[in-house]
């Protein structure tokens, strides 16, 4: 079966590489959407209602644009951080935990320090970044010290982070908001002090916080850092060929650790910004991260680790999330969106993998043989 498939793939010729790639993308996207369609039909509703609800929830209804943008910001920031790690060849998949830790760290300043001031806002976000960096850095230390694979330790740390977050919400001395006279039914923190909140931008009735422009700036900054500085250059060398990197003076530890710390810091910043920007009514709760970390990773996978490409991809993912709010009105589980998005990512793995494979085969043919 594989032989047939292999020769079929080999025989696909579309004239130019770009055209071929574009067709592959279309084919895979259609495939993913078809499966989603099936799921929707299986659910008992029609896909047109689903699409309408999604578009309604993401863009059309008044104020929804703002919701989409609001959700774009943390996805983008996480994705940018993930790109940095991947460029350096580090597999950090613990952003969900790093984001939570960042939000948690930020919450200590943002919700507990009264009255709030812009300085507290900055400090809160900074603390969030540091917390995220340290959480990721832990995995880095485990690797450089004891060779524990980062992919494993970052995943384990996600589970630990959610337990830690739940813990801080069980104690009034920590983040739990104890309202005197009322039993503790809601496990959440106090709201972020009003002076420490990120400013709100309002455009045509769409409200979103400053986190959106900040995220954009971060994406642009890292795009520049990665392509135009010696640090970014050396990171790339490390990721592409670690032995050549060693020879050329790129210390695995220094550059690898810096990549890990940066990616963790970005996830932490995203978490803190979510809190300061109004997520879940400015209150930290144990489900706070709501898969933004995972989604951000997926964004960066689809965007092929480019901070610039991550912008439109993050918007699409954010649109799916905000659109999903309206799905229940159409009688569809909001969770469907989770499935669709993962299907899309799986589908989108295929075209670049195929073209990589063929490019490599062609490169091989070009080499002068050894003796």
């Amino acid at each position: 079966m594989n032989m047939v498939l292999r020769s079929a793939i080999g025989r696909l010729r579309f004239g130019s590489d770009q055209r071929e790639l574009a067709l592959l993308y279309v084919a895979c996207l259609v495939g993913a959407l078809l499966i989603s369609l099936l799921l929707i039909e299986f659910n008992g509703s029609s896909w047109s209602r689903a699409v309408n609800a999604l578009v309604d929830g993401a863009f059309q209804s008044p104020g929804r644009w703002g919701e989409t943008l609001r959700r774009t910001a943390p996805l983008l920031v996480v994705a940018v951080g993930s790109s940095v790690a991947t460029k350096a060849g580090i597999v950090n998949i613990g952003q969900e935990g790093q984001l939570l830790v960042g939000a948690m760290g930020g919450a200590f300043i943002l919700t507990l320090v009264q009255p709030g001031t812009p300085i507290m806002l900055v400090l809160g976000i900074a603390l969030g970044a540091v917390a995220g960096a340290l959480w990721a850095g832990l995995a880095g230390v485990l690797w450089y010290w004891r060779r524990i694979p980062i992919v494993l330790s970052t995943l384990l740390l996600v589970y630990l982070a959610s337990q830690m977050a739940a813990f801080t919400l069980t104690r009034g001395a920590l983040l739990l908001n104890v309202v005197p006279g009322e039993p503790n039914r809601l496990l959440q923190s106090a709201a972020v002090a009003s002076g420490s909140r990120l400013g709100i931008i309002e455009v045509f009735g769409n409200r979103f916080s400053l986190s959106v422009p900040i995220a954009l700036v971060i994406a642009l900054a890292f795009s520049w850092l990665l392509s135009r500085t010696t640090w970014g250059f050396r990171l790339k060398v490390l990721g592409l060929n670690s032995r050549t990197a060693q020879r050329a003076g790129v210390s695995h530890f220094r550059y690898g650790m810096s990549a890990i710390l940066v990616s963790g810091a970005m996830a932490g910043t995203a978490g803190a910004m979510m809190l300061a920007g109004g997520e879940s009514q400015y209150k930290f709760s144990s489900g706070f991260s709501s898969s933004v970390g995972w989604d951000g990773l997926l964004v960066s996978l689809v965007a092929r680790n480019s901070p610039i490409l991550a912008v439109p991809v993050a918007v699409v993912f954010a649109a799916l999330r905000s659109g999903s709010m309206f799905l229940s009105v159409a009688g569809i589980e909001a969770v469907l969106v989770d499935v669709v998005r993962a299907l899309l990512v799986v589908a989108l793995f295929i075209p670049p993998a195929i073209s990589e494979l063929r490019r490599k085969r062609r490169a091989m043919a070009r080499q002068t043989e050894r003796i």
Binding site: R147, L156, Y159, Q163, V339, A342, F349, L357
Partner: protein, 309 residues
């Protein structure tokens, strides 16, 4: 204090718990061991476990037959493994990215489909092996379990035999150590790798089903949460030997059982978050202390394309 320790060491139910929790880890770990000996790392064993777990629940609800449900669970595990195998070792997509996405996909699917089905499952009946289950302390744990659990006793030696005593196993080992040499010797490297991943899928799928009927009885999407990852850690902890992987599973199963049983043993309740963190904390600590990289398959996690190193 010593009294407490004695209680801890002789607590029969604790060991019974340990065994049950270790078994689900072991199914995943033994399968992943084979796949890692071939040089692949599949974090999607988490998805395979969940797929088997959920698939078995649905099947049992439709037709209350344990064996059938377990078989279907295994097949679903194979199906998920096929996706991982084809995408990473035929198309050379990044195996970590694929694994991660499959995990997310399965979680979403389970959450999406669960309300659809009015799941009705139950635990399988206990099948105590006559003489052996009377051994004090360990007897009930090892020989007094519900009958699907005993499947592990067959799979572990079967897997050992497959890898150590067959030609297929020799080729798998060669592929994980030096894929170029294996290729030149006429072995289809990526085909072998894909086969080991399918095997891991089969075992993990069955393991998820066995977990449903042997330990939890009811499907919750959080049942599996992280067990696949811990299974991979067990493989590493064991230095990529089968013995070591099983030992790791027992160790991590023990910690997980502590989480469930410690309050009862001690007599007072402990912080629930701390308890829930125990398995993951223990995994990290254990790897810190015991992970040795010298026995790692030399080509682990390095994709193979003929002609390119």
């Amino acid at each position: 204090m010593p009294g407490f320790l004695v209680n801890l060491l002789t607590d029969g139910p604790l060991y019974e718990s340990t065994f049950r929790l270790a078994v689900v880890l072991a199914f995943a770990a033994v399968g992943e061991w084979v796949a890692e000996r071939a040089g692949t790392i599949n974090i999607s064993v988490e998805a395979m476990l969940l797929g088997g777990h959920f698939g078995a629940a649905i099947t049992f609800t439709a037709m209350p037959n344990f064996a059938l449900a377990i078989a279907v669970g295994g097949m679903i595990g194979v199906f998920i493994a096929a996706l991982q195998a084809w995408l990473s070792h035929f198309l050379t997509a990044d195996q970590f990215g694929i694994g991660l996405t499959l995990n997310i996909l399965l979680l979403g699917l389970a959450a999406f489909l669960q309300p659809r089905f009015d799941l009705d499952t139950q635990l399988a009946s206990v099948a105590s092996i006559p003489l052996l289950s009377d051994i004090p302390v360990l007897g009930p744990a090892l020989f007094g379990q519900r009958w699907p659990m005993y499947a592990i006793y067959a799979f572990v030696p079967l897997t050992w035999w497959l890898v150590k005593r067959t030609n297929w196993g020799l080729e798998v080992r060669a592929v994980g150590e030096d894929p170029q040499a294996a290729d030149v010797s006429g072995i289809n490297v990526n085909a072998r790798r894909r086969q080991t991943i399918l095997y891991a899928g089969l075992l993990s799928g069955v393991g998820g089903a066995v977990y449903l009927f042997g330990q939890v009885g009811r499907f919750e999407s959080s049942n599996i949460g992280g067990k696949g990852i811990i299974a991979i850690a067990a493989v590493i902890f064991g230095g990529w030997t089968l013995r070591g992987a099983v030992a790791g599973c027992l160790l991590f199963g023990y910690v997980d059982a502590l989480r469930l049983n410690l309050p009862m043993i001690l007599g007072y309740s402990l912080n629930s978050q701390l308890l829930a963190s125990l398995p993951f904390l223990a995994t990290i600590v254990v790897m810190l202390l015991f992970a040795r990289q010298t026995r790692q398959p030399a080509a682990l996690a390095r994709p193979f394309v003929r002609g390119l190193k």
